[in-house]
Amino acid sequence: MAESTNGEPRIGVYVCDCGTNIAGKVDVPSVVEFAATLPHVAVAREYKYMCSDPGQELIQKDIKEQGIDRVVVAACSPTMHEPTFRKAVGDAGLNQFLFQMANIREHDSWVTEDPEKATEKAKHIIDAAVHRVVFQAPLEPIEVPMNSDVLIVGGGIAGIEASLKLADAGHKVYLVEKDPSIGGHMAQFDKTFPTLDCSACILTPKMSAVGKHPNIELLTYSEVTEVDGYVGNFKVKVNKKARYVDIDKCTGCTLCTEQCVVAKVPNEFNEGLDKRRAAYIPFPQAVPLKATIDPSRCLYLTKGKCKQTCVAACGPEAIDFEQKDEEVEIEVGAIIISTGYEMFDNEKIDRYGYGKLPDVITSLEFERISNASGPTGGEILCKDGSKPRSVAILHCVGSRDENYNEHCSRVCCMYSLKFSHLIKEHLPETEVYQCYIDMRCFGKGYEEFYKRLMNEGVVFIRGRAAEVTAASKEQAGSEGKLLVTVEDTLLGVVRHLPVDMVVLSSALEAQPDAKEVAQMFGFGCSSAGFYIERHPKLEPVGTVTDGIFIAGCCQGPKDIPDTVAQAGAAAAGALALVDNKTVKIEPTISYIDPEKCSGCHICVGLCPHNAIQYNEELDAAQVIEAACKGCGVCVSACGSGVPVQRGFTDDQIFAEIEGALA
């Protein structure tokens, strides 16, 4: 080990056992012994948990007492603990960029079968880091002003909750919703499990609070089209779709919706169970309570010919067929994505007969028919208007099924129980069957609710339903009924249940455009399309992009309490950022020496962020520091090797390659 400095770097290498996560596979003492032999390494140590306070103090003590001026920590992924160690190094008086992390957990001990090979790989990874750190130079994070406004994308219960929290804290919130009203799926529900609160009664006060809040700017019938910038300074373009109604003039009186001559548009809010007009307000509690003219169905907008009864009916002259889509540009410091979910397309499972057998309905359709504001006024009725004397509820339709979705949608067991209760409440004589795989009653009060339903006369049959068919004439006593074939796996018999109605408890799926949205905001989504959190346990609402948070079902299926909790967490995460006046960003940006630059312009055109300008006076390219994001494209494109990316210089990368292959 090096004894004296003489201007030579003195590197400290700290290898973490991570309990047994690393030490269980990698022979840490031999790695430490190896590290100690590397050039410029003055200290090499092993510790059980480097990230713990004593672990960090170990490094700090060496910096102060042993004159360590470069630090390598071989532990987990930098995504996990780079900030921890940078801070520790900085607190000990060393520039935090004189630190390099060697990832020997995610990239080695967890993925390598053979302990000897894992140990070898750890040595190479550490060697690369030690070589690199020699060439690292002190850097200072760039401090930029923080925009204190927040954008929230998606106006379901998650977006509503997060908006209110942030707006109450005094921050300006832009809430963007693609539909004409906020409310999301929760606005469609009848009751909520297990407390049986009326969904609208608990949601609509929050919706109206959003509509009235002085700090919330509501952008409904709008979609985000472009996102640029970084934490603290995002620039977002929003397309406000033309609704052909001036919402400043519209009073929500519904006269236009009553007078519109196009009457047969399937009503999305009631899951297509009844019709709306082309001029419509989605539901009576809509926020904003403003009319929208459906451009795909309006006669005037599609054919250019209509007597425009809506215009005649509108007192305040709010209808404006000349309205165009409008692009709005907003600037915010943080973003919360709460774009929700979509229901599984039940027609994909042919054998359940959805779409062919009229009384096979989806769970959302059931929500609407049991809801007093729904198409049947809250009466649970078959399509022919009769009251069902027996109902089968089929669980896991499109969930827990490798043909469709592997995941459990989490809420279906509980809403199925809720449906059973509602049926028993409305129609006490009606038989209710639940065909389930397992009952997953995981939340507070949920198991108790299940117990309660067992005492309400509901029949529970353990087994996934095989098929639903129309009973044939030969099946005496079952004429006109639906036959549910299911194996009762507890009794070991196949049963054929004649019922009047079948409710399919369908899966929750990611939004169809989830991938494009994730791409636009710069984070990942799983193969099922659910957004990936920064850390599944400890940062469940963060994303890999600083300043962008996720909440609600866009991250994965969840119930309302969990959604609201996540929305609060996302709001707190955003608040912790936008409450600051400035934000520090990585200084890994490019620099072009005007003395060396020949002014050939190659980098100018290649820069993805237009951060390089040609300076005529200097006859050289110049990096606009505030616009440079640090991709390094200019560095690798320059024929003369003039641009330098701080923190990723050629010297550093060359040294890392040498170390990796040493």
Binding site: T79, V111, V544
Partner: protein, 154 residues
């Protein structure tokens, strides 16, 4: 050295937004793959300079992998397209330098594709194993010596 005991040495350049996180996910999910690739993190795959690739071969790498975000997913809008654009040029360069272009591979691995990362590394290690050791510097050296020899004997 027989093909069986040849352990390929591979350098992987991973962009920090997609592929590095994808490799992390493979780790978090405890997927297993061969240990022959040493990862080097760059902000963007667009930062990977042809000289980095040549440096790796010169330092004794048998293969080089560049892995970035899927086209359209780049954190820097289109940095990965720059890499993709340079790639055919790199292949020609490698051929001219007597290096089988199959020793250089470009992949798109997203932050969600831990399984793809494990698969890519496994497959690439196998491919390099089949191609055998490169020993490019040694080869270069031998050629130089041969030339010298020829010059002397001529």
């Amino acid at each position: 050295m027989s093909a069986n005991d040849f352990e390929p040495r591979i350098v992987g350049f991973l962009c920090r937004w997609c592929s590095y996180n994808g490799a992390d996910l493979a780790g978090t999910s405890r997927m297993k793959y061969p240990p022959n690739l040493i990862p080097i993190k760059t902000n963007c795959s667009g930062r990977v300079d042809p000289t980095h690739i040549m440096k790796a071969f010169a330092e004794g790498a048998d293969g080089v992998l560049i892995s970035g975000c899927h086209p359209g997913d780049c954190h820097y809008i289109n940095g990965n397209w720059r890499t993709a654009g340079r790639f055919p040029m790199m292949e020609i360069l490698l051929e001219q330098l007597n290096i089988d272009p199959r020793r250089l591979r470009l992949e798109w691995v997203s932050a969600a594709e831990g399984d793809k990362w494990a698969h890519v590394v496994t497959e690439f290690v196998e491919q390099i194993r089949e191609l055998g050791p490169l020993n490019w510097q040694g080869q270069f050296h031998n050629e130089y010596e041969e030339e010298q020899q020829e010059a002397v004997t001529a």
